[in-house]
Amino acid sequence: MSKKTLTSIATVLALSTALAGSAQAETIRIASQGDATSLDPHSHNESFTNYFLANVYEGLVARDRNFEITGQLAESWEQIDATTWQFKLRPDVTFHDGSSFAADDVIFSMERALSEPSNFKHVLASVESFSAIDEMTIEIKTKAANPILLNDLLDLMILDKQWADANGSQEPINLQAEEKAFSATNANGTGPFTVVSRAQGEKTTLAVNTSYWGEVGNVTEVVFTPINNAATLVSALLSGEVDMVMPLPLQDIPRVEAAEGVKVVSSAEARTMYIGMDQWRDQIIESPVEGNPFLDLRVRKAFAHAIDAQAIIDRVMQGQATLATQYVMDKVNGYNPDLTRLEYNVETAKSLLAEAGYPDGFELTMDCSTDRYVNDGQICQAAVSLLARVGITVNLIAQPKAQFFPKVVAPDFGTSFFLLSWTPSTMDSLNVFQNVLGTRDLEAGTGAWNISGCSIPEADALAAEAANTMDPKIREKMLQDAMALMVENVCLVPLHVQQLVWGAADNIDVVQHPTFEFPLEYYNVN
């Protein structure tokens, strides 16, 4: 037998094993720095938990592979009038335990999301009432016209009423309740994957739902392990013990790129980083300076000119971020493509400070978390040294998030200069106006995260109007105009939009969404 024949026989053998392999079970092993905190889809509103559970539970609507909103448990919907919506439910859907899905499950889940211990009340904040028209139709009435009701409903997961009733899980766990929550450690959704076993913080195994109504890629089993230590996480990928890690620490990108059989997967995340400046106190805190320099637009502009965001991206973020021109990223509805950044220029910054009466700069304190965002502590250090070049002396308080957030959020807002970021969960900039940019009014529930206390009434009015405008074009224009007003007034100094950076084995087709979703039904093992 010639050498050539041997080679071809070997090739045929290899091919046939490969083919046989693809018909078998395909397991994907995923490691992440955190674990889902609960299996109850209404108890913890934390992005990783939400998107992990989105593989098990489903909502009325969801994002498809291309990030467009599409029907999930609702097959179709129709708007009867400005405030009334009817949703036709998908027939022949069953929960993982075999019971069938119908309107009473949706009504139950909405009531549950509004119950006292739920963390998803905001999802239905615009809703006046909801009812079942028949077995397979539900009607939702909103308080006022709500153009982004579908976006709001994305995070509302549907549970089985009978299952919840039978297991005493009518409400997401109440912390004072003496009994443990069944729904925190067990799941029964309609999603493409079922929970086979769960040891919190250790290992969770999912199996494909064989009676799923939709299409699923070739993944039949998902083994999910949390690995908190970044070095261990990367080692597990490099040694082939896991197929995918998220997030991949930025400093390990070159290592993964150089290694055989693994790749770096990255795309823009919907999170915009920014630096905030106190615009509501008469006297800034933790600073020897008299009064509040930030009330002067020239000082805010000087800070924006002094902070070289591109340098921060190049050095601190290892290039894994894009410059932000405003307070949302380009995939968010309401993004204004005409806006530009104030360019980095030390001289402009210095002369603006001199005009404002601070020719020698001044001293202040900056608050910064060290374990919440990608390289947050280093971003602040970079900002401190950039500001030193224009004569601003910054005392940096870099602290763990457990100390940082209690200090800077409501009710104290105990900072005059800080680093923060926001992801609009609805992917619509109205969410940013309601939470971060709108004038702070805690009674009305707006601006709860407006830590800088910036207030532009004209922008508030535009956002309020946009909230009830159904025409998408007109509405988008309003939001863009409102954003332009905020940027002109340098409400915050935008820094960058960070990238989602994951590591994966070469043979895994990874689908990344800007919100950190990882819809496993679109994943394939080649």
Partner: protein, 322 residues
């Protein structure tokens, strides 16, 4: 009996103090409510939750309530996991215990013979090598050692798994990963890292004590009586080094629980240590308090055991000779 009662009383007071200190410290770990709710939760909802968790009560009211419940075995519900704290600890405890046991046994098996040997042949080449290696064990931080081991044995050689606990099997009533091959493969590196520090400390202590004792007169008399070396070293010398050595071993082994925090983190070992780190990150006060009390209990009990062992090995204590 009197001895036992006073010891138990002391232990109770120690435990109450541990709980109190823990409670005072937790006032500074951050606001648990913020890690419990999402960014869109309203200020009123946050306040309502804080009130209903009893976080607005004076600290001593909270402390008293906690101790009353804890005495009845109820450590509350973890804020971040929504599960019974006692149940979570029961889940994680076996993993830590097997790691501590494996590394404890390993370090004793290696340290005692090596300590005796280096004490006797202190100028020999092998003894010098052992002493040099023990310096590494004592001085290299465990997280560094752990990552080095992962790099060599998992990434380069691909011999051992880099993280997690392996399959478990049940022998009698104990469900442990030490009873399976896969489990042992997983446990080997973390146990080795934990063991190395203990090994260095215990070895050096035994060696120093041996050197001390071997200089004493009664050892010379023993030699003069023509006793065989084995009898002199093991019966006469080693037995008299044991009191300080047992104290140190008792404390060292209970501190393995504390050291295991870092090792568990590096190897993603699902034990008490990783649970503690999670609890700190989430300001999960019930979990933190329970962990602290648990570690306090381990130290208290191991001290009680050490005291009891003294009585066995030192007749002077048994007979009340001062």
């Amino acid at each position: 009996m009197y001895f036992l009662i006073t010891r138990l009383l002391q232990a109770t007071i120690v435990m109450l103090c541990v709980a109190l200190v823990g409670f005072l410290v937790f006032q500074f770990v951050g606001d648990p409510v913020l890690s419990l709710v999402g960014q869109e939760t309203s200020v009123e909802d946050r306040d309502a939750l804080r009130e209903s968790l009893g976080l607005n009560d004076p600290i001593f009211v909270q402390y008293f309530r906690y101790v009353t419940n804890a005495v009845q075995g109820d450590f509350g519900i973890s804020y971040s996991f929504n599960r019974d704290v006692s149940e979570m600890i029961a889940d994680r405890l076996p993993a830590t215990i097997e790691l501590v046991l494996l590394s404890g046994v390993l370090s004793l098996m290696l340290a005692i013979p090596a300590g005796i040997y280096t004490g006797i042949r202190r100028k020999g080449g092998l003894a010098q090598t052992i002493m040099a290696l023990s310096v590494i064990g004592v001085s290299v931080p465990s997280f560094l050692l752990g990552i080095l081991l992962i790099l060599v044995f998992s990434v380069w050689l691909n011999w051992l798994p880099s993280f997690g606990r392996g399959d478990t099997a049940t022998v009698l009533v104990f469900d442990s990963s030490l009873f399976t091959w896969d489990g042992l493969r997983h446990a080997l590196m973390p146990a080795a890292v934990l063991c190395l520090f203990q090994l260095g400390v215990i070895l050096r202590l035994i060696r120093a004590e041996m050197l001390e004792v071997l200089r004493t007169d009664y050892i010379r008399f023993a030699w003069a009586r023509g006793l065989p070396g084995k009898r002199v070293y093991l019966r006469h010398a080693l037995k008299n080094t044991l009191v300080p050595v047992v104290t140190a071993i008792g404390l060292q082994l209970s501190s393995l629980f504390a050291f295991s925090i870092i090792t568990e983190r590096v190897f993603q070992w699902p034990g008490m240590g990783s649970l503690l780190l999670h609890a700190i990150g989430q300001s999960d006060i019930p979990l933190l308090a329970a962990y602290l009390i648990f570690v306090g209990l381990v130290f208290t009990i191991s001290n009680l055991v050490v005291d009891a062992i003294y009585v066995l090995i030192d007749p002077r204590i048994r007979h009340g000779v001062r």
